[in-house]
């Protein structure tokens, strides 16, 4: 009994590289002042990917429609700022609450069925929201996007400016807070039970875990985090358009997570950095056809295997 408890506790220890990451992320704010806009995008994408990792890596739910929550969060924050209150933190809270509710409702749809069913239902939910946002153009601005959003200063003092340094600090703070929260969550008994039901749902149910309640809970949490990422995007750019709900966003975040690796929580952060830099690099090289190289990269990634591609030194180990 104590052995199990020790094992779990050892697993939850802060590792050295985690601490280094926790130092490096804030330090990047001082070290890369000129890259704040790109860095802010990376932080938002990382938060989005970490939220997907919660349901994909820990609960084993394959989703092709995670952008639904990202988009709803973005629209909620933008609409709140436009019509009610321009304070960013309040808007963030509203977006998180809205997407958590939406996530809890949508989770009821993905409890049953196979992987394909889940893919289709999540994709369908995102598409429905996309269509809704397109049709309700009085509210969302339709294809033109929601314009005229002016954000208030952060904490009443720091204005969002063109250099994006406030935006980056804000995104980074939310990312680190949310990741710490997610870390606490996945090392709690709740998180461990999620992994149990990911590995074998039938067995998890038969040792007395209430599978459905856990799935609903983790889906709502992940939705809330994705909503926070969407809200950050809308607030830092002062704009929300249909693009936030588009299919490619769901696909991109999946790629990010796969590049970074699933099931250890930081995959989203590393993946987001790699993905954005790669995208920046390739699209400056061939702007029109960069999806070809992205596709080639994906195919190679899956065929060779992610672990072997990222850790070439393990090739020799396997041969031995």
């Amino acid at each position: 009994m104590t052995l199990v408890a020790d094992c779990l506790r050892a697993d939850a220890h802060w590792r050295r590289w985690e601490i280094a990451l926790a130092v490096a992320l804030p330090a990047s704010w001082w070290l890369l002042p000129g890259q704040a806009l790109l860095a802010s995008e990376i932080a938002i994408l990382a938060l989005f990917a970490v939220s997907l990792d919660l349901i994909l890596g820990y609960a084993g739910i394959v989703s092709l429609g995670h952008a639904a929550f990202f988009g709803v969060g973005a629209y909620a924050a933008a609409l709140f700022a436009k019509h009610v209150q321009p304070d960013p933190l309040l808007g963030l809270a509203v977006a998180v609450a809205a997407t958590a509710g939406l996530g809890a409702v949508c989770s009821l749809l993905i409890l049953r069925g196979s992987d394909l069913t889940r893919l289709m239902v999540t994709l369908g939910v995102a598409s429905i929201l996309y269509e809704l946002a397109n049709k309700l153009d009085d509210l969302t601005g339709g294809a033109d996007g929601l314009q005229g959003v002016t954000m208030g200063p952060l904490l009443g003092r720091f204005e969002f400016d063109l250099t994006g340094r406030t935006a980056y600090a804000y995104s980074l703070a939310v990312l680190m807070f949310a990741t710490a929260l997610a870390r606490r969550l996945v090392h709690s008994p709740f998180g461990v039970s999620l992994q149990a039901l990911r590995d074998n749902r039938l067995r998890a149910a038969s040792i007395g875990l209430s599978v459905n309640a856990r799935l609903v809970a983790v889906y709502a949490v992940a939705a809330a985090m994705a909503g926070a990422a969407g809200a950050l995007l809308a607030q830092t750019t002062g704009f929300a358009s249909l693009d936030v709900l588009a299919f490619h966003r769901s696909a991109d975040v999946l790629l990010v997570l796969v590049i970074g690796g699933t099931g250890y929580l930081y995959g989203g952060i590393f993946g987001a950095i790699a993905f954005k830099l790669l995208q920046d690099l390739i699209s400056s090289w061939t702007p029109q056809y960069w999806t070809f190289w992205l596709g080639l990269f994906l195919v190679a990634l899956v065929l060779i295997g992610r672990d072997r591609l990222i850790r070439p030194w393990t090739w020799r180990m396997a041969r031995r």
């Binding site: 994909l56 394959v62 092709l64 749809l109 049953r112 069925g113 196979s114 992987d115 394909l116 069913t117 893919l119 289709m120 239902v121 994709l123 369908g124 939910v125 598409s127 429905i128 269509e131 809704l132 049709k135 749902r201 299919f247 696909a251 999946l254 790629l255 796969v258 699933t262 029109q288 056809y289 960069w290 999806t291 070809f292 992205l294 596709g295 080639l296 990269f297 994906l298 195919v299 990634l301 899956v302 065929l303």
Partner: protein, 290 residues
């Protein structure tokens, strides 16, 4: 009203021919192939290029599209797809999305991103009326071709030795291979025929659905809906789903143009929540990916 239903049926039949290969792939190897639309696109472009550049008549293009894309499918199956069967669904999804991205960009690079236009022969243009129902000749042609294909497929599946082997492998690939069936070869053949059918569907549908490099992504969702809603264990399931989808889509776009796609997706979610394994499922068949 009846014209709408007629158009919907034509659309649905087309979707069925496009998606049936996907249904078999999924049922047989439990492989989620999002790149299926890329094969359809290949068929469409093959037709357009043959007709416009080489002046091959339209009717000849259809079998060429079938055979050409089928061969392409067989080639890809041998080289790229086979190692994917044992991988988790997530890897399969990423792999096939990667293929779609590559196909889209490659077509964009080679042919250009503009919409391609198929010049139909004169005898397929125009429409006539039967008892107040306006019937487009080309749509009728689509229905006839697709119905013939459906009947043939059903016959092959139900009556021939190949069909019974295929059904056995879909029900349980392990037991089937234990009984001495060469499941891999069976699958190679099926995959080739399935992608050939997609190519044929793409060639037929280039005029109706429109053809540009975003084709695989745009229609991927529709194929997946057909398969997910119809289930993978029968032919009737996807057929029913395709017809339902075709009619709902055409009627939805006509009556409530503002909510066209909305209806389709809502319908899909309702059906999937009601019957997660698809409309028609033989109980006991296939453990699925649970």
């Amino acid at each position: 009203m009846l014209t709408l239903i007629f158009d919907g049926i034509a659309y649905g039949m087309l979707l069925f021919v496009l998606a049936v290969g996907l249904a078999v792939t999924l049922g047989l190897m439990n492989f989620i192939n999002l790149a299926h639309g890329a094969f359809a696109m290949a068929g469409g472009y093959l037709t357009v290029l043959l007709m416009n550049r080489l002046g091959v008549p339209f009717l000849w293009c259809l079998p060429i599209a079938f055979v050409g894309v089928g061969a392409l499918g067989a080639l890809l199956e041998c080289t790229l797809y086979r190692p994917m069967y044992a991988k988790p669904h997530l890897d399969q999804v990423l792999f096939s999305i990667g293929l779609v991205f590559m196909a889209t960009a490659a077509v964009d690079y080679c042919v250009g991103s503009q919409q391609q236009i198929v010049q139909l022969p004169a005898w397929l243009l125009g429409r006539f009326d039967i008892a107040e129902v306006g019937i487009g000749k080309y749509r009728l042609f689509i229905i006839v071709v697709c119905a013939a294909l459906t009947v043939t497929l059903q016959w092959v599946l139900a009556r021939t030795r190949f069909g019974s082997r295929l059904r056995a492998s879909v029900d349980d690939a392990r037991v089937a291979s234990g009984l001495g069936l060469d499941v891999n070869r069976l699958f190679l053949l099926t995959f080739a025929v399935g992608s050939g059918l997609a190519g044929l569907g793409g060639a037929l549908g280039a005029e109706v659905l429109g053809l540009d490099p975003s084709f695989p992504l745009k229609f991927m969702v529709y194929f997946l809906i057909v398969v997910a809603v119809g289930g993978t264990t029968t032919l009737t399931g996807p057929l029913l789903a395709a017809l339902l989808l075709g009619i709902a889509d055409v009627a939805g776009k006509y009556y409530v143009p503002k909510l066209g796609a909305f209806i389709v997706y809502s319908l899909m979610i309702v059906i999937l929540v009601w019957r997660p394994q698809g409309l028609l499922v033989r109980t006991g068949a296939q453990a699925g990916g649970r």
